[in-house]
């Protein structure tokens, strides 16, 4: 088990290093996140709709789009020069490969969310500081769930004809349940209502994470092995 985790970390480190050296993807996604937030600002009538009513949706739609863009990258990176074949030939278990990709994706999406969150607070005048810890918890719970499914799906879609289009089409139905619960919990938090009000949703979010991380972990070999 420790070997699995060690190998996973090596793969994640490789992905992050590639990204850190070029910094194209992370910068593009960060700029994209800012642009989506800007679009939302012009898409609402500030005199009719209070920012706090719209804030949870703005936050989560932005994160959804940003995550979708980053998830495509994980396996597309490996298509060049048949790098994926190299990875599969390496003496590394399939489960380490999945966990490594998942870890790299999680760090990647977390960075994008960390960039987006303060800008969201700034643009929409939402005071995040008093609720930062529980909000970070909700974001982490939701992100783990859909990034786990997204990593699995991107391993399949990367080798199809319409990868950029097919991944969102497959992933969105899977993202929507965690999004629904996350939006409800975020709305309760931002409006100063107790979190216990959405306890059922948070429990489902936790169950979703457990089910889909496990499922993706065991299904991943079927997407790469002939």
């Amino acid at each position: 088990m420790s070997d699995t985790l060690r190998h996973a970390w090596i793969i994640a480190r490789k992905d992050l290093l590639v990204e850190f050296r070029s910094r194209t993807a992370i910068l593009s996604v960060a700029v994209f996140t800012v642009l989506v937030l800007l679009v939302f600002n012009f898409g609402r009538d500030p005199t009719a709709v209070a920012a706090v009513d719209l804030a949870p949706s703005i936050l989560w739609v932005t994160f959804t789009f940003a995550a979708m863009l980053t998830l495509n990258r994980a396996f597309q990176l490996e298509l060049e020069n048949q790098a994926l074949e190299g990875l599969l030939l390496a003496p590394v278990g399939r489960s380490s490969l999945y966990l490594g990709k998942l870890l790299a994706n999680l760090i990647f999406v977390a960075v994008v969310e960390a960039v987006g969150l303060p800008l969201f607070a700034l643009f929409f005048n939402v005071s995040l500081l008093p609720v930062l810890a529980p909000l970070a918890g909700i974001i982490a719970l939701a992100t783990v769930g859909f990034v786990a499914v997204g990593t699995l799906f991107s391993a399949m879609t990367a080798r199809t004809r319409f990868a950029e289009l097919l991944l969102p089409v497959l992933l969105l139905p899977f993202m929507i349940p965690p999004l629904i619960w996350a939006v409800l919990a975020t709305a309760a938090l931002l409006a100063g209502r107790p979190l216990s009000e959405t306890g059922g949703g948070l429990r489902l979010l936790g169950a979703y994470d457990i089910v889909f991380v496990t499922l993706a972990f065991f299904l991943f070999p079927a997407t790469v092995d002939e």
């Binding site: 499914v149 080798r159 139905p173």
Partner: protein, 226 residues
């Protein structure tokens, strides 16, 4: 193709019986007091909904067994079941608004159950799109199986997330823990309709399975003996 011919005959019998369902529902079943004639759609809507969900579960089960046994027949069944499920989900999505307009006063509401069926339909659409996007038959089967299993596991989550919302949709009156709460004549019509839809599901799947077999190159499909 014995299977194709048998499927056609059973479909023909199913359609004749479906006409019988209409006849019984319209002429020999009492009119519901508060909803009037619009309630008649219940005899089509609910059986179609039950089979739309069951078909997804069957796709998932066939996919699980496919990944273990690698038997192409299981994959062909999953493909057939997914396509038939798409049709049944489309029936639910069209009969629902037709009922909703006179009863709710609106074609569509973001009601929990409607949303659930829409997600199911999109899940099917994604599954069929993925099948179309992968050229290599082996990879197509594995990818479809992975998505099918994930889809089956998503169904309970969508189901629970819709129960968190207040809903305008009538509560279940047949499939619920206590005894069905509708008059015997209505229940008889409904059960008749459910068995006709079961027959139609079987007949459609048989035909679609036979067509799937015909589409495959002979060397791989193992001849034309179904």
């Amino acid at each position: 193709m014995k299977l194709l011919r048998a499927g056609r005959w059973i479909t023909a019998v199913g359609f004749v019986l479906l006409a019988g369902v209409y006849l019984r529902a319209l002429a020999f079943t009492p009119v519901e007091r508060s909803q009037g004639l619009a309630q008649k759609i219940f005899y089509l809507h609910v059986p179609a909904a039950i089979w739309a969900e069951t078909a997804m579960v069957l796709v998932g089960l066939a996919s699980v067994f496919y990944l273990f046994l690698k038997d192409p027949r299981l994959d062909r069944f999953a493909e057939a079941s997914a396509e038939v499920g798409t049709v049944f989900a489309a029936i639910v999505l069209t009969t629902g608004p037709i009922w909703g307009k006179p009863i709710w006063g609106t074609w569509w509401s973001w009601d929990a159950r409607l949303t659930f069926t829409l997600f199911l339909f999109l899940l099917y659409a994604g599954y069929l799109l993925l099948r179309g996007a992968v050229a290599d038959p082996g990879a197509r089967r594995r990818y479809a199986a992975v998505l099918g299993i994930c889809g089956m596991c998503l169904v309970p989550f969508i189901h629970f997330s819709v129960y968190l919302f207040r809903t305008l949709h009538p509560m279940p009156i047949v499939l619920k823990p206590s005894a069905p709460s509708l008059p015997g004549s209505m229940l008889a019509t409904w059960l008749f309709s459910l068995s006709v839809f079961t027959l139609l599901y079987v007949a459609f799947v048989m035909q679609r399975y036979a067509l799937g077999l015909l589409r495959e190159p002979p060397a791989e499909g193992g001849g034309l003996h179904a």
